[in-house]
Symmetry: C2
Subunit: 140 residues, 2 copies
DNA sequence: CCTTGACCTCAAGCCAGCTTCAAGTTGCAG
DNA sequence: CTGCAACTTGAAGCTGGCTTGAGGTCAAGG
């Protein structure tokens, strides 16, 4: 059994965040010593899992749905696949962007506006903005 | 010369956003007809460029510094390179994440917690969180 | 037993990048 | 000239994921 200080020390997650996660229902403290929260050791895995989810682009609400009542993970494999596909898409876009930037950085055109590739990038970016307005922003 | 409605129609950027950008100093309206803003046609390129910058991960403030007094772009090629490098880094992280998710989705371990690769991912994600706390979050 | 400092709660604040609202002004069609 | 839709302003609100602050409680060490 761990007190909050110990959880902070071992997970690197600030106490304020732990309280916030508990309030949101993402984690559970297993009891109190007086007012003070006590956590089961499993909390550390759970926090690592939350960190992973965040890094993968899940929202806290989505992550909350990945735990059963006991705090054990029960992650839908289809959801993982879907998120992987989403990441793939993001990666493709970012790669195109990176290549365009790389080109612009060494393009000899006096102004970037005179570079065909740069203009293509600009057009793609504004087209994407339009789409995201319509379809409720993805991410990135 | 374009009125705001025309700019909205041709750029897809909402009027509220145009006013916000002007207030922020990112764009300039070239005059007024009565109270109403009038824009030079160049605004369309400028908005496309802003969209591109946003998509590449620049903040509005950073983008603001990319225009000279006349609204002409004057983009530091080094900044573009640096942003490209940053994107590369992001892409690498996302790729690792995607591969891990993909694996977890088809991993036969009864619980994800029992899968070595999944646990490695978890640990990477929580280690990254710690670092980002210390060094003031990048993006993604 | 008393102090102390680590914990607690609840509410408010912060960030970026907008959007929305209420109330006021105006260009222009009829 | 009138009416009204389209524009204007400034301020406030929103989203997500926290952090911060004020003020309160309590377990443990001296």
């Amino acid at each position: 059994m761990l007190d909050i200080t110990e959880v902070v020390r071992r997970s690197g997650v600030p106490a304020s965040t732990l309280r916030y996660y508990e309030e949101k229902g993402l984690i559970l403290s297993t009891g109190r010593r007086g007012l003070k929260r006590i956590f089961a050791p499993g909390i550390l895995d759970q926090l690592a899992l939350i960190a992973l989810g965040r890094a993968a682009g899940f929202t806290l609400d989505e992550i909350g749905e990945m735990f059963d009542a006991g705090g054990e993970p029960s992650i839908d494999r289809d959801a993982l696949s879907a998120k992987a596909d989403e990441l793939d898409d993001t990666i493709r876009k970012l790669s195109a962007m990176r290549d365009g930037l790389r080109h612009a950085a060494k393009c000899p055109a006096p102004s970037h506006l005179e570079c065909g590739q740069f203009r293509r990038l600009m057009n793609i970016a504004s087209a994407r903005m339009r789409v995201e307005k319509k379809r409720g922003a993805q991410e990135i």
